[in-house]
C-alpha cells in the first residue's frame, strides 16, 4: 500500500488503511515518544493520543511535505503537551543548572547500539532532555523551542549546551564514545568507520 493509498483510505475513515498507517509509523513514533517520556507507559499514552490526532486531522495534510514528517510533528507536539501537563516539567525546564548524574562505567561495546544511545538520552533531566531532543534530533530551532516550551530563546540555548555536555559525559562513562584528543576524532565510532 502506498502512502497515497493509505492517505485516501484514512480520509474515508477506513480501518484497514488506518491500521496500515499505524503499523508503518508507530515503531518509529513510539521511540520518539520514549525519548520524551518518563516511562514506556507514558510513551504509549503519548503515542495513542498522537495517532488519534493524526487520524482526526488527516484531512488537513496538504501533500506539501513528507507524510512522515507531518506525523512526526504532531507526535512531538503531543509529547510536549503531555509533558506540560506535568507541573514538575514546567519547573525543571527553566532550571539552568542541573545536578550531576552518577553513571556507572561499563565495558566498551563493540558496536554502538541505538538503544544505548536512547537510554543515555533518557538519563538526562527532563528539561535538558526535552531541549536536546527538540534541537539535536527533531531539528527545531531555539526560537521554535522557546515558543513551544514557553521559555526564553537564551534559556533554550543554554539548556542545550549543558544537556549536550552532560550527555557527552554519560556516553564517555558508558564507553559508547571516547573523549576526543583532537576535535576531528573524539567520536569513537567515527574513528572506527
Amino acid at each position: 500500500m502506498t502512502d497515497d493509498a493509505i492517505l485516501q483510505g484514512c480520509l474515508r475513515n477506513d480501518t484497514t488503511a488506518q491500521r496500515e498507517l499505524y503499523n508503518r509509523y508507530s515503531p518509529k513514533m513510539l521511540s520518539v515518544c520514549y525519548r520524551f517520556a518518563h516511562h514506556r507507559e507514558d510513551a504509549e499514552d503519548m503515542l495513542q493520543e498522537g495517532f488519534i490526532k493524526v487520524f482526526s486531522q488527516i484531512h488537513t495534510f496538504q501533500n506539501k511535505g513528507a507524510f512522515e514528517g507531518w506525523i512526526r510533528r504532531i507526535i512531538v507536539h503531543t509529547c510536549i503537551n503531555h509533558l506540560k501537563k506535568n507541573k514538575k516539567f514546567n519547573e525543571s525546564v527553566d532550571i539552568i543548572h542541573a545536578t550531576s548524574i552518577q553513571v556507572r562505567e561499563e565495558s566498551v561495546p563493540s558496536i554502538v547500539q541505538a538503544k544505548q544511545v536512547v537510554e543515555c538520552i533518557r538519563l538526562l533531566p527532563i528539561g535538558y532532555r526535552t531541549v536536546l531532543n527538540l534541537y539535536a534530533i527533531e531539528g527545531y530551532s531555539h526560537k521554535e523551542i522557546a515558543d513551544m516550551l514557553d521559555i526564553e530563546e537564551s534559556t533554550s540555548r543554554s539548556q542545550y549546551t549543558r544537556a549536550k555536555q552532560m550527555l557527552e559525559d554519560i556516553l564517555v562513562k558508558k564507553k559508547i564514545i571516547m573523549r576526543p584528543k583532537e576535535k576531528h576524532n573524539w567520536l569513537g565510532v567515527a574513528a572506527g568507520r
Partner: protein, 491 residues
C-alpha cells in the same frame, strides 16, 4: 531550521542512532486508537431497541387485551369474596363507564301541554368518562320492573350481597347482561333516585353463594337502617339538588412541561466560501470546501419547555409556550501563545466581496502550539406555536405527532466564526439575534388521572443562518433527541 550553532559530530550520532531505534507498541495502544476513531455504537442501538420493544409490548398489551383493573381490585381486596356475578358492580370509579341517569317524575316529564315529549333531564355518573365512545350504561326509570337476577340460583331475599341495593329499580338498556340489574324489596317515600353503593359485606371465603348465609341479625338490622337513611338522602338530592346539576364540560386547557436531551450539530453551505473571496490582501487563499477543512463534531445539549395546550377536539390540540434551548457543537482547533490578526471576508447581498473585517484571535484551524477544543454554544429562548395531533389510540394510550414554528431570540452572540485565513474568532456583530426554528415530533402518551405523560423523538431545525447575510458561510443548527413531557389538565 536554525542549525549549526552548536553543531558537532555528537549531534549526528544522536540523530542517526535515534532514528534507527524502533520500539513496538503493545496491542492496547491500537485498541485505544480504534475505539476512539470507531466508537462502538451497538450499546446505543441495543438500548434504543430495548426501549422501543418495551413501549411496543406495553402498547400491544393495552390495545389488544381488555382492562383487568376490576379483577385486580377484587384480588387485592382481602375483604372481598364476592363471586363473579357481582364483580361488575365493584369496578373502581376510574374505570367505570359514564352512566346517564334521568331525573324527575316520569309522569311530569312524559308530556307537555302541547303534547310533545319534553326532554328528559339527566345527570351523569363518572363524568370524566362521558364521551361518545365510553358511555356504557343508560338507565331508564320508565321501564317496567323486571324480575331480579336469578343467575347461579342466588336466593335474593336471603343473600346479603344484594342487600346493599335497596333503592329505585335500575335497568340497563345497553348490552350489559341482565344479571347486573335488580328489583328492590321495597321502596320508601317514592324516592326514585337510583343509588350505586360500594358497600360490601364480608363473606367467609369458604361460603358458597348457592347456599344461604347466616348473618348476624343485629348487623343486618343496622345495615337496613343505614340503607333507609341513605334512601332519604338520595331522595332529597333527587328532588332538590341534583336537578340543577349541569352536565360537566370537558376540560380543555392543559399545562405541559417538557425536557429533551439533544444531540446538536450544524449544516454549512453557501455559494461564497472564504476561499472564493479574492479581495483579501491580508488573508492567504486556501482552496477547498471549508466543510472538509475543519474538524467540527456534534455535542450534547438540551431543551426545556413550558407550554399551554388547548384541546380543540379528540384529535387536535393547539400549543404555545416558552422554550429554553441550549445548543452546541465542538470545534477542534489549535491555540497559539499570542493573539494574531484574523480576517473575516464579507460579501454583499449579491455574493460579491465588499469588504473585510479584521479581528484578533489565538485560535487557528491549522497547526498551533496546543490542541484546543472550542465549544460553539447557543442559548436560545423560543415561543413555540403549533399543534399536536392524536393519530391513534384509545383510553389511556395515544400515539400522535406534533409540530411547531418557533420565533427565537439568541441570548449570547459569542460563537466562533471561521475566518478567511482559517482561524476562529468571535465577532458578535455578524451573529443574528432573531431567528426562526421549526420542530417536529412523534410521541406516545399515557394518561393517569389528570396527568398525561408523553415520550418520543423530536427534531428541531433552524430555518435561517446563525449569521447575517454579509458573512459568507451559512450555518443552520439542528438538534434531535428524545422528548419527555408531562401535561396536567387544569381547566
Amino acid at each position: 531550521m536554525e542549525r549549526g550553532f552548536y553543531k558537532e559530530d555528537i549531534e549526528e550520532l544522536l540523530k542517526e542512532k535515534s532514528d534507527q531505534y524502533k520500539m513496538y507498541p503493545s496491542d492496547k495502544v491500537w485498541k485505544g486508537i480504534h475505539r476512539s476513531l470507531h466508537p462502538n455504537r451497538k450499546w446505543y442501538w441495543l438500548s434504543l431497541l430495548l426501549f422501543l420493544g418495551a413501549v411496543g409490548y406495553y402498547t400491544f398489551i393495552e390495545f389488544i387485551t381488555p382492562s383487568t383493573s376490576s379483577k385486580a381490585i377484587s384480588k387485592n381486596n382481602p375483604a372481598s369474596t364476592i363471586s363473579k356475578s357481582t364483580e361488575t358492580t365493584t369496578e373502581s370509579s376510574d374505570n367505570k363507564p359514564a352512566v346517564i341517569v334521568p331525573f324527575g317524575n316520569p309522569k311530569q316529564t312524559a308530556s307537555t301541554s302541547n303534547g310533545s315529549v319534553a326532554k328528559q333531564r339527566t345527570f351523569v355518573l363518572n363524568p370524566d368518562n362521558n364521551d361518545e365512545g365510553n358511555t356504557g350504561v343508560v338507565i331508564n326509570m320508565n321501564q317496567p320492573p323486571m324480575e331480579p337476577a336469578t343467575t347461579n340460583n342466588i336466593d335474593i331475599p336471603g343473600n346479603p350481597i344484594l342487600a346493599f341495593n335497596q333503592a329505585a329499580p335500575v335497568y340497563d338498556l345497553d348490552s350489559r347482561p341482565v344479571k347486573e340489574l335488580w328489583q328492590p324489596d321495597h321502596m320508601e317515600g317514592g324516592a326514585a333516585a337510583p343509588e350505586f353503593s360500594n358497600q360490601i359485606f364480608q363473606v367467609p371465603a369458604a361460603t358458597s353463594l348457592t347456599n344461604p348465609v347466616a348473618i348476624d341479625g343485629s348487623k343486618l338490622g343496622e345495615n337496613t337502617h343505614n340503607a333507609q337513611e341513605d334512601n332519604k338522602r338520595a331522595g332529597w338530592l333527587a328532588n332538590n339538588a341534583v336537578y340543577e346539576l349541569p352536565v360537566p364540560k370537558q376540560k380543555r386547557l392543559g399545562w405541559q412541561l417538557t425536557f429533551t436531551p439533544t444531540m446538536n450539530y450544524r449544516t454549512w453551505r453557501g455559494s461564497n466560501y472564504p476561499s472564493d473571496v479574492k479581495t483579501l490582501p491580508l488573508a492567504p487563499i486556501i482552496e477547498g470546501d471549508p466543510e472538509k477543512l475543519v474538524n467540527h463534531k456534534p455535542a450534547m445539549g438540551f431543551e426545556v419547555g413550558s407550554n399551554i395546550l388547548y384541546t380543540l377536539n379528540k384529535t387536535f390540540t393547539l400549543k404555545t409556550g416558552l422554550l429554553f434551548n441550549f445548543t452546541r457543537y465542538d470545534i477542534q482547533a489549535y491555540s497559539s501563545s499570542n493573539s494574531e490578526p484574523a480576517t473575516i471576508a464579507l460579501n454583499s447581498n449579491w455574493g460579491i466581496a465588499t469588504g473585510e473585517l479584521t479581528t484578533y484571535t489565538r485560535y487557528r484551524n491549522f497547526g498551533g502550539d496546543a490542541a484546543e477544543n472550542l465549544h460553539n454554544q447557543y442559548f436560545q429562548l423560543s415561543v413555540p406555536l403549533g399543534m399536536e395531533v392524536n393519530l391513534l389510540g384509545k383510553d389511556k394510550i395515544h400515539v400522535g405527532i406534533g409540530g411547531t414554528v418557533q420565533p427565537t431570540y439568541l441570548l449570547n452572540r459569542n460563537s466562533y466564526l471561521l475566518t478567511a485565513d482559517y482561524k476562529y474568532a468571535t465577532e458578535p456583530s455578524l451573529v443574528r439575534k432573531w431567528n426562526v426554528n421549526t420542530s417536529v415530533e412523534a410521541f406516545i402518551s399515557y394518561k393517569t388521572g389528570d396527568l398525561k405523560w408523553k415520550v418520543g423523538p423530536q427534531l428541531r431545525y433552524q430555518l435561517f443562518s446563525s449569521y447575517i447575510q454579509k458573512y459568507p458561510i451559512r450555518e443552520n443548527l439542528y438538534n434531535y433527541g428524545i422528548q419527555i413531557g408531562v401535561t396536567k389538565t387544569i381547566r
